[in-house]
């Protein structure tokens, strides 16, 4: 029985380091190639030695697919392709291809330049890696090779985020990457057609959360920012440069304009303007409203939001600062956090998920005394707020996607084991499909039942759709054919054609049965009685009395002769071919019972 095998190298019962191996119909595909924000050692990258110990990765993988530009989905890519060594194709959407190298370079700088690590990938490696990338359009069917094809669907999580369908013959897998089922201020909602994959691999970050309405969260967010600024406090919003940042900027920009607020809003790092530029150039990937109005007003040209300078952090008075990275694990956001953490007037708003091990995760779980580098203890007095703005599907959204795609199996990744367990039960109950949640390094095997496509001769197909005693479209039709198997081709043809193609003659098998009937009448009268008898019983068949005195039932021939010795007995010769076996056999047994008494 054919099977699909899935092994997460990362994101198995965990968030971070997304990397999932899929084997389908002899093809091996790697989905995402991420890093883990919670680790600084070997564990930050997937363990590619699982794929092969000493061979080249290119020989073992048919392709790599990157779902979106977040580092936990693409952060290990240069390491994988340039340091471990992979030369095959890497697929991603155009915006991902555009933005991914910038975030990788950013990541490299923080790791190498700031933390002084060696043996890390270089700028040149990022460039070389990106040369292997093939950009795909939404809904384009990309033929990776003759059998393997992939197709991207809109995922809505960040600019350019995509879900991917991987298909070989009749078997298919859909990998969602990260997705969002509700449109937000700058992106649309994820969408997929009823593609009925054998397996849906879904993220499950918010497996147990049903989030309150977006409007409420937005109002809450604005209220908190507003209150802090009013009392002269500073608001730090750690974000990733692209994604939530733009949504929150649009939100604050419109609020500032409406309320006529004067407190400055800053966006850290030089990436801001560049980031916004990507949104302008890839506006076709944003939501409908922004796309429709962009000629009149480009939503990504902000009036109130200015570039941040490091010195501004010490300025007196209120301000709002968006700073990267989003989980407070390094870089500018962490620097500002350390400066502002001691003042209870200030506030930090975490708008997204934080991976275990990061400062963001620590303060969110209530820790107020943090051990920083050099054994320094940082006391956190500022207010810590969490607002789920990350654009992941919540439990409702995940169920909705399953309903849309109608998979035969579901596999959960990118979530916490406990929450996954809960969602898994819910999915199995509601959809009656198997749901899996393998840990990293654990292989899940799914049996598939692919149908076999064959070529049917048009003659046979037309014949079979034409016959049948009652032409009833709804009634299934029985069809008889011969399947010819040559090399790898399968042809279903009529038996006659099969004989012809093989150069064989038909062998006719005929039966003739003598049936004795007691009837003193003349032969032709006997024949007439037989005819009337059969006509009465075989209503659906063509029964004919021929001028030469014989009877036909369909193609079965019945003739009567007198018995050579006994005039009171007539001999009926019933003759049929093997193809009429059932009817012939039935007729002889019917006639054997004799004719009904004449009236």
């Amino acid at each position: 029985m054919p099977e699909i095998k899935v092994t997460p190298l990362g994101a198995g019962q965990d968030v971070g380091r997304s990397c999932i191996l899929v084997s389908i119909a002899g093809k091996n595909v790697m989905l995402d190639c991420g890093m883990h924000m919670g680790y600084n050692d070997d564990r930050r990258f997937p363990d590619f030695s699982y794929i092969t110990q000493n061979g080249r990765l290119t020989d073992f993988l048919d392709c790599v697919i990157i779902s979106h530009f977040h580092l936990d989905h693409c952060g290990a890519l240069p390491y994988f392709s340039e340091m471990v060594g992979y030369d095959g194709p890497i697929y991603m959407t155009h915006p991902t291809k555009a933005i991914c190298p910038i975030l990788l370079e950013d990541y490299r700088k923080i790791t190498v330049d700031k933390k002084g690590e060696t043996n890390f990938f270089t700028s040149q490696m990022i460039k070389d890696c990106m040369k292997k990338v093939v950009a795909v359009h939404l809904h384009q069917t990309v033929q990776v090779d003759e059998e393997l094809e992939i197709k991207a669907y809109y995922a809505g999580h960040v600019l350019g985020a995509a879900m991917f369908q991987i298909k070989v013959g009749c078997e298919s897998v859909v990998y969602t990457g990260d997705y969002n089922m509700t449109p937000d201020r700058h992106l649309g909602a994820a969408w997929i057609d009823k593609c009925r994959p054998d397996l849906l691999i879904s993220e499950s970050t918010y497996a147990t959360t049903i989030r309150d309405s977006k409007r409420c969260r937005e109002r809450d967010f604005l209220k908190k920012v507003h209150e802090t600024v009013e009392r002269g406090g500073k608001v730090l919003i750690p974000v990733f440069a692209l994604g939530r940042a733009q949504e929150l900027c649009i939100l604050l920009e419109t609020f500032w304009e409406r309320m006529n607020l004067k407190a400055p809003i800053y966006f850290s790092t030089g990436l801001t303007e560049k980031a916004n530029h990507y949104y302008k150039l890839f506006i076709t990937w944003t939501n409908q409203k922004i796309r429709k109005t962009f000629v009149q007003r480009n939503m990504f040209e902000f009036k109130h939001i200015k570039a941040f300078d490091r010195a501004f952090a010490d300025n007196p008075g209120p301000m709002v600062v968006f700073a990267t990275p989003g989980m407070l694990h390094a870089g500018q956001s962490l620097q500002i956090f350390r400066k502002w953490a001691g003042n209870e007037k200030n506030m930090v708003i975490m708008p997204g998920y934080c991976v275990q091990g990061t400062v963001g995760h620590k303060i969110l779980s209530g820790q107020r005394k943090l051990e920083m580098e050099g054994r320094q203890i940082l006391e956190v007095k500022m207010q810590v707020e969490y607002m789920s703005f990350s654009a992941h599907a919540d439990a409702k959204g995940i169920m909705q996607l399953i309903r849309q795609a109608e998979p035969r199996n579901v596999l959960l990744v990118h979530g916490e084991a406990k929450k996954m367990e809960f969602l898994k039960q819910k999915i199995e109950q509601e959809f009656h499909v198997s749901c899996f949640m393998p840990a990293n390094g654990e292989t899940t095997t799914i049996l598939t039942n692919p149908c076999i496509p064959v070529d049917i001769s048009l003659g046979l197909l037309k014949r079979e759709t034409a016959i049948g005693p009652v032409p009833d479209a709804k009634k299934p039709k029985l069809m008889h054919g011969t399947l010819l198997m040559k090399d790898n081709s399968f042809q279903l043809v009529s038996p006659e054609q099969a004989l012809k193609e093989l150069g064989l003659a038909e062998h006719q098998l005929r039966f003739t049965c003598r049936v004795h009937i007691q009837d003193p009448r003349k032969e032709h009268e006997t024949v007439l009685r037989v005819y009337n008898h059969l006509k009465g019983i075989l209503k659906d068949y063509s029964v004919q009395h021929l001028p030469d005195g014989s009877i036909t039932v369909e193609s079965i021939l019945i003739q009567a002769t007198a018995h050579s010795e006994d005039q009171g007995t007539k001999v009926l010769l019933v003759s049929w071919t093997y193809q009429d076996e059932e009817l012939g056999s039935y007729l002889t047994s019917l006639l054997k019972k004799g004719l009904p008494q004449s009236t």
């Binding site: 359009h137 070529d455 004989l499």
Partner: protein, 658 residues
Amino acid sequence: FLQYCLSGHPTLPCNVLKFKSTTIMLDCGLDMTSTLNFLPLPLVQSPRLSKLPGWVLKDGSTFLDKELKECSGHVFVDSVPEFCLPETELLDLSTVDVILISNYHCMMALPYITEYTGFTGTVYATEPTVQIGRLLMEELVNSIERVPKAQSASMWKNKEVQRLLPAPLKDAVEVSMWRKCYTMPEVNAALSKIQLVGYSQKIELFGAVQVTPLSSGYALGSSNWIIQSHYEKVSYVSGSSLLTTHPQPMDQASLKNSDVLILTGLTQIPTANPDGMVGEFCSNLAMTVRNGGNVLVPCYPSGVIYDLLECLYQYIDSAGLSNVPFYFISPVANSSLEFSQIFAEWLCHNKQTKVYLPEPPFPHAELIQTNKLKHYPSIHGDFSNDFKQPCVVFTGHPSLRFGDVVHFMELWGKSSLNTVIFTEPDFSYLDALAPYQPLAMKCVYCPIDTRLNFIQVSKLLKEVQPLHVVCPEQYTQPPPTQSHRTDLMIECQPPAVSYRRAEVLTLPYKRRYEKIEIMPDLADSLVPLEIKPGISLATVSAVLHTKDNKHVLQLPPKPPQPPASKKRKRVSDDVPECKSLKPLLSGSIPVEQFVQTLEKHGFSDVKVEDTAKGHIVLLQEAETLIQLEEDSTHIICDNDEPLRVKLRDLVLKFLQKF
């Protein structure tokens, strides 16, 4: 399958294919050359045009002098300009299931089709095609609607009257079918029926046919289409280019293995080299401006204009034109310039790479930023304040019959310092200029048509090797004005099948197979038998399900077990219900082995007689006779069913089933 040809214009095609029970319209181009027969619509009252004399018949009759005006020996209809629609009577257009659009120039008749014919299907096009197509339609509607014309001429269309008119009015075809421009609500309704598609996206139509757009390299989002089922493939090539301009390069490889290739939209100026024309355009422009004259470039608001602006961007500094203002005037100028920058995914590799930086793909962004290029919705408003001469003006419409271009022709036509440069190939420049004669202004003809020329076509056909080529009749003969140029026509083997307006073609192809799927449980139940080395066969008896034109074979349901004989049933209950066909048989029966088998099964009195064609095996006690021949076996016996069945099964052992 059938092809209905609704348009005679080779670059503005409109064909309908009937293919596997689907009806597919390929493009709906609008022939606007009809507008050349009309007087221009001036934005500002033009004394010259309003004073033109009415046309008088040879016999002195003046009944047409309100409708027809004479200008420098040409006669024009003084009325709202009208367009020549695709044929609407050749087939019932409400039966069209889908419309496939190849580029924004080939969709201009869409509102006439979707809003007036009872069309209820879906239109497929790429996003740039739709967005830019919308801009073209908007500009068209706007430029006609903002000059309301009191008069609508119809008398001249009367067949009896038309006969009396001078050429080309006399020869204009189907004038009764000419229609006025549609309105914006109709445009919006038509566009709302479009579903967006991407290159290489496979779209299933009713399960029977798959259509796929491919990059055609001609314009932003322009596509060729593959229409295929499992066994037949039709390629529709319309407006393709192999030159490196701004769009994504043409996808040629996917056109291979076509049964039929429909070829439309070749270059209209096969003798002009687009690169040379661009060079001439630049030098003429520079010369005029240096001499203090103005340059007018009648153009569409999208397409070649992007390439021209890019050339000028590179050229103006070196040519010392940095201080000359460039004006782009169109109600959709701003939108067109903005939209061009957001379709990175549809652009050539170089432009795509710029977006990754991130920089705008087209340098006209910089021309706008540095104030060298300014755009205005019309000559009214801001433009009149900013207007400085000498300058270069890009504006529409290329027919010179409506749009802001009419104003500039009237304004600049009298001075020989000025130049009008024709770059769009859709209209004969002499015909376009006719109502402006006499003209002092210089005219330069630099048509830039990047579509395939005949050399490229013959290379393409060699490359993709279609079994049959179908094309408009114009492509199967040299151009009428250059009848010696036999190189300017399509040559291929077998010769191309040509079509003309209002013709129905039966396209040559024969289909022998169809795809069917065998369900796994049925596949498991099959018993393959090797008949010859490498060839196996299995007989299949299965239930055929057909849904949405997809065929599936399933295991037949198990016959219900007959209830353990309770009552004697009536005879008629036993009538076999369906004629369950037995397989065909093949092979022959070796008589000696057969006799041995019979003996092994308890027949002791077997006797064999030779006949001319084979043998007769006699079972004396059972009064049974078996005739064995090369290709037939005949069992003649008494009505002893168990015996017959036993013999039957023994015979079958020697034969192969099909």
